[in-house]
């Protein structure tokens, strides 16, 4: 009994030190005490974030062989390589919480872990590559800038590194859109069509409205999240509308209006039915994305096995 009480006291002290650190805005590091819920929440969020970076390479990879110039192809290759790198930063940060990369990939393949819904939409034309860089990466940047202040040290450091690299992604996308809007009537139409298809899914990237967000309580208490979904979405809309106007693109929202009183844009209702339907596997590309990831992972197994066999052989020789 005494031992049990002692143990409980110890646990209380440990949790106390965690809460005190959160209160002081100190970063939590891998070996620090943390509640199990904090660890679980981070593993879910960070692995989903890592998977999104990696799955996000697919819609863009689709255009490498069809890029309209050598310059465009080099840029696209560099951007996709960055996305792979961002996935690696995040997997490595998530591994500090005691989960392996094998386990994370298995969870992706079983459907237990999700990735961002946006990558279940197809990149149909070259203008989509512009829209993905400008809108999708633009939305991701707004979210990731906020996450630079997240309480978990390795996650925060990965976000700082990623944010430094993302602005190139957004600018290259916006440049594609601007060029097309300066081009022929057909090119302008293509750019507007991409805008029409990517605008709403980009707004959905920030997740449900704050009033509908089930897990956000703990995330704010633990300072994993520093801004709400609606705050971030608003920030994205407010800076993107002006960029669209500059190059002559129309935002496909009849209710979009500047609200002088609130000093921000009011927007029309988001189609959450579509959002939930795509999350539940009914998006245009869900099956294709997952099938491709599984196939490439299985096809690469022999390389990893050969590398291990080589290491064992070298170790024996030395």
């Amino acid at each position: 009994m005494e031992l049990l009480e002692k143990n409980e006291k110890l646990q209380d002290n440990k949790l106390g030190s965690f809460e005190a650190k959160i209160e002081r805005d100190d970063a939590i590091e891998p070996r620090d005490n943390m509640p199990e819920g904090y660890r679980k929440h981070l593993i879910r969020q960070m692995s989903q974030h890592a998977h999104s970076e990696v799955i996000g390479m697919q819609p863009e990879g689709n255009w490498i062989t069809r890029a309209p110039s050598l310059r465009a192809k080099q840029i696209l290759l560099a951007k996709i390589q960055d996305e792979g790198g961002h996935g690696l930063y995040l997997y490595s940060a998530a591994e500090t919480l005691g989960i392996t990369r094998d386990e994370m990939i298995a969870q992706l393949h079983s459907g237990k872990a999700k990735y961002s819904n946006i990558f279940n939409y197809p990149a149909l034309t070259w203008a989509d590559i512009g829209a993905i860089g400008w809108l999708v990466d633009g939305a991701a940047i707004v979210n990731q800038v906020s996450l630079q202040r997240t309480s978990y040290g390795p996650y925060s450091r990965a976000m700082v590194r990623i944010c430094k690299e993302e602005s190139f992604h957004q600018r290259q996308g916006y440049e594609i859109m601007a060029k097309m809007m300066n081009g022929t009537a057909a090119q302008r139409e293509m750019a507007q069509d991409a805008m029409n298809r990517w605008w709403w899914p980009s707004l959905m990237m920030f997740g449900p409205h704050d009033s509908e967000s089930p897990r956000s309580g703990d995330a704010f208490k633990w300072k994993i999240k520093r801004s709400t979904n609606d705050e971030l979405r608003q920030k994205f809309i407010d800076k993107t509308v002006q960029q669209a106007e500059v190059i002559g693109l129309k935002v496909p929202d009849a209710d979009l209006r500047w609200n002088e009183e609130k000093k921000c844009y009011d927007h029309g209702p988001i189609n959450w039915e579509e959002f939930h339907s795509v999350i539940n596997g009914n998006g245009p590309c869900n099956n294709q994305r997952m099938a491709h990831h599984k196939k490439v992972h299985a096809e690469g197994a022999w390389v990893r096995e050969a590398a291990e066999a080589y290491r064992l052989k070298e170790e024996k020789l030395n």
Partner: protein
């Protein structure tokens, strides 16, 4: 048996003369692959002039629970700090 290969910690020097700073981790089967993967993952924009890679299980870390006791010896030795000493009035450049 398929695995994601061993884990390595990556330390980078941003410019000649600077301290090596931890950048993150990578996976690799041996030293050579570890260096190449570290380069590809952490220096795509000329961020470094030199890289160290160390197998993760070779790192020994202090336990944050023991911080009070572990770092205590330094707290009561203020004579290690330059402000501990009283300098004669008028002395310059010291």
């Amino acid at each position: 048996m398929d695995t994601q290969l061993g884990k390595w910690e990556v330390f980078m020097q941003a410019k000649p003369g600077a301290n090596y700073i931890h950048a993150g981790t990578i996976h690799a089967s041996d030293k050579k692959m570890a260096l190449q993967n570290a380069r590809d993952t952490y220096t795509r924009r000329g961020e470094g002039t030199s890289i160290w890679v160390v197998p993760t299980d070779a790192i020994v870390a202090s336990n944050p629970d023991d911080n009070d006791m572990f770092f205590d010896p330094s707290n009561d030795k203020t004579y290690r700090l330059p402000t501990f000493y009283v300098m004669p009035e008028g002395a310059k450049a010291i």
